[in-house]
């Protein structure tokens, strides 16, 4: 289990990017974090990844405090961030340096197969499309089999068609080993199609505003009335999060009690 306990971050310039963010995330759960720009989503993700230290509060994974990057936690950024001097195969195997070469090769080959890029194994990152490059980034993060995979707006730079394709593909890959996914997104549709639970954040300082459980069986039909209902409730919550006249919910309240619908 991943436990966030009153995680706060104030940057040296005084910006309170994150304030007392608490959540408990079950192993294998898919969480979407949604909220206006600048409400601390990336800050939160970077704290969980151990890339930036929280100013106060703790992140613990299976009772182990996270203060620096951890083998069980992978992260995918908005840009693929592939290493341009490594072939696609070597990029995917980047996190497997400790393994013996044959074993690494085999894992990489399987991952390439799995993300549908077997024919690109020896290509350079420059030669990939945006969607392909992000697939490689996903494979690179998943191949060491992390327990938690963090994704910071991973599909927002892609066109709508590629984005849908990769959303489905991500779920497909997730089913292999069922890591915990924490996905930051701007896209309500994306949140509802992927997540078990949507966390809505509000800005200044960045904090948790609301949680919405998405009780929909997978695969989800984007056109079903139920799907539309969930989308509407997320949108409503988002609107309220941006409305300053709406007070914060009581922090002690249990998750998923969206009271207004």
């Amino acid at each position: 289990m991943l436990a966030l306990d009153r995680v706060s971050k104030t940057y040296p310039n005084g910006v309170a990017a994150l304030a007392r963010f608490s959540a408990e995330i079950r192993q294998g759960e898919i969480i979407a974090i949604i909220g206006g720009s600048g409400c601390g989503k990336s800050t939160l993700l970077r704290a969980i990844a151990g890339l930036d230290r929280a100013s106060s509060g703790t992140v613990t994974l299976d009772n182990e405090a996270i203060a620096s990057p951890h083998a069980k936690i992978g992260i995918i950024f908005q840009e693929p961030r592939l290493l341009p001097w490594l072939s696609v195969a070597d990029n995917i195997g980047f996190g497997l340096a400790d393994l013996a070469a044959p074993e690494r090769r085999e894992k990489v080959a399987r991952a390439l197969e799995r993300v549908g890029l077997a024919d690109k194994a020896q290509a350079w990152p420059r030669e990939l499309s945006g969607g392909q490059a992000q697939r490689v980034a996903i494979a690179r993060a998943l191949v060491p089999q992390p327990e938690v995979l963090l994704l910071d707006e991973p599909f927002s730079a892609l066109d709508a068609f590629t984005r849908r394709d990769l959303q489905d593909h991500l779920l497909d890959l997730w089913a292999d080993t069922r890591p915990t996914l924490i996905l930051v997104t701007h896209d309500v549709d994306e949140a509802v199609v992927l997540a078990d639970r949507v966390l809505v954040m509000r800005p200044r300082p960045g904090r948790l505003f609301d949680q919405i459980e998405i009780n929909l069986a997978r695969p989800r039909d984007r056109h079903s009335p139920l799907f539309e209902n969930f989308k509407r409730s997320v949108l409503t919550s988002l609107d309220r999060s941006l409305d300053r006249s709406v007070p914060d919910r009581d922090a002690t309240q249990g998750p998923g009690q969206a009271m207004w619908w």
């Binding site: 620096s68 990057p69 951890h70 083998a71 840009e79 341009p84 490594l86 340096a97 420059r126 030669e127």
Partner: protein, 281 residues
């Protein structure tokens, strides 16, 4: 002569994007560049051959090549080339080692940069040839002062190239290294070195160009052998063909050594070639 920074992508093979005429284009393009100098040389040859000019001050190509052949036959040419190449190699080696070390320290470690960089920049502002009298006083007029002068010329572009390259390594890529828990040596070997390599190769090539420039200066100041000596000797004895012969050989050696660096680096920069191809150079 070759002190300008050669852009890596431009010197790699021409684009293959236009599939059909690519083979013709591959050979036609360099040939096109040869057209002007060849025409001028042949034209001048013709002018002298027709007796329209005696070609005493500007000897025709045939006379320049005859001079080269003559020098080669007597063994003089090899002796001068070896002397010059030896100086350039030593100076280049020292300059590269010093520039790489100090550049890396300054790029990697900000305290060292604050300590070191202002001094280096101030020294850089001095035209390096201004050091010549001092070097001669300190080190004598023989090999040491020449090698040091060349090393100074090579040092600055390498230092700046290495430091700049390290400073401009993409923070986002470094972060990828951090998420995979690389630190210290592993981070340097797996992220920083490859990221810095293209700029490093460019700085080596610029440094080498300066090395060739400075070897001429060093040998003009006083030498009993070397291509620069041939230049000076040609001037003093009024042998323009010998001067031109030395210049031609400088050009050939300069291009050749530059090409050696390019070829040696090519296997490590294949990923960049892909970039050049994709852009359609």
């Amino acid at each position: 002569m070759i002190s300008d920074a050669p852009a890596l992508q431009q010197t790699s093979e021409p684009a293959e994007s236009a599939a059909a005429p690519s083979r013709v284009a591959r050979y036609a393009r360099p040939l096109l560049g040869l057209l002007l100098p060849l025409t001028l040389a042949l034209g001048w040859e013709l002018v002298v051959w027709l007796g329209w000019s005696n070609g005493r001050l500007v000897p025709p190509p045939s006379r320049v090549f005859a001079t080269i052949a003559e020098l080669a036959r007597s063994g003089e040419l090899v002796r001068h080339i070896v002397a010059t190449l030896w100086r350039v190699s030593l100076g280049f080696a020292f300059g590269v080692v010093a520039g790489t070390l100090l550049g890396a320290v300054s790029g990697y470690w900000s305290l060292a940069r604050r300590l070191l960089d202002p001094t280096v920049q101030a020294l850089r502002a001095i035209p390096s040839l201004a050091w010549v009298p001092l070097f001669i006083l300190w080190l004598g007029i023989f090999e040491t002062s020449k090698v040091v002068l060349i090393a100074v010329g090579v040092f600055f572009p390498v230092y700046l190239g290495v430091m700049g390259a390290i400073l401009s390594v993409d923070r986002k890529i470094v972060e990828v290294g951090r998420t995979f828990r690389l630190s210290g040596f592993a981070m340097i070997r797996r992220i920083l070195l490859p990221a810095v390599l293209p700029a490093y190769v460019v700085s080596l090539r610029v440094g080498l160009g300066l090395g060739w420039m400075f070897v001429v200066a060093a040998e003009l100041i006083g030498a009993s052998e070397g291509l620069g000596y041939l230049l000076l000797d040609g001037q003093q004895l009024g042998k323009p063909a010998q001067i031109l012969a030395a210049i031609v050989i400088f050009a050939i050696l300069g291009k050749l050594t530059d090409w050696l660096i390019e070829v040696a680096a090519a296997p490590f920069l294949r990923w960049q070639d892909a970039f050049g191809r994709a852009k359609g150079a």
